[in-house]
């Protein structure tokens, strides 16, 4: 384990921020590109995970364990969100027979 703790010495913090912003932007693109509600949901999971990784990197950088505890709470929240969101998607499918987000245009002006 001692060798493993030495492994990340040479990776700058900036590269972690860069990686996480790239993955976050990919998630945003996924939300804008796709019309399948499930894939939009998966893109949101991607964004949540990139922020989790960045929180962990900052937590290690500052030597403060609160960041990792926060990631734990975000994961609990994501589990609850997925359960409710997928139930809503199943409900939408039952009512409209598709998961296309363009079908749900009742509120469109």
């Amino acid at each position: 384990m001692e060798s493993l703790t030495n492994t990340i010495k040479s990776v700058p913090l900036n590269h972690y921020i860069l990686l996480c912003s790239i993955i976050f932007s990919i998630g945003v693109m996924g939300v804008l590109l796709r019309r399948n509600a499930i894939i939009i949901f998966m893109s949101i999971e991607l964004m949540l995970n990139s922020v989790n990784l960045l929180l962990t990197a900052f937590s290690v950088y500052h030597g403060d364990a609160s960041g990792q505890v926060f990631v734990f709470f975000v994961m609990a929240l994501a589990a609850a969100e997925v359960a409710v969101g997928l139930a809503i998607i199943v409900m939408i499918y039952r009512n409209t027979n598709s998961v296309d987000t363009n079908v749900l245009n009742r509120l469109k002006w």
Binding site: S3, V11, R35, F41, N52, T56, S66, L86
Partner: protein, 177 residues
Amino acid sequence: MGIRYFVNINMNTFYFIAFLSIFFSILVITAKNPVHSILYLVLTFFTFTVHYILLNAQFLAVVNFIVYMGAILVLFLYTLMLINLNKDSEPVKSNMVKIAAVLGGGCLLVVLVGCLKQVGVADPVLLKDPGLGLVQNLGKVLFNEFLLPFEISSLLLLSAMVGAVLLATKDPKPKSV
């Protein structure tokens, strides 16, 4: 010299895994079949687990592995199985909308990277306390400072469970008003 060699190998490991996470996350949003999309998401989350291990956050690595890859993505797969999507069920968007979406996401990325350039600090991520991400240390913080949020999150999970069951069950008979 042996340690130096090892450090270099693992630095390259970070960049390799980072490349893999970006590659798989692009595949998630471009795959035509939703099942393939979910499988690519599993691979993306696996690379995230490797990132956590490289950061020596062992507790988070295990939780990410079990909760995300084990529970959440299986939930996604089951939902996909329940709603039985055909391959051509998703209509293609026009090219105009696709270009606009990629441009929007790219603008966000440019703004974020521009902010990062302004900061301009490139200190290496150095693990000061080797026991930082271990279960013992995190448990002490979780049950001392964050005891109340921890208990409240159980309430959140309970209400989410009740809400999901309530949403997903069919009405036995249509309500007559």
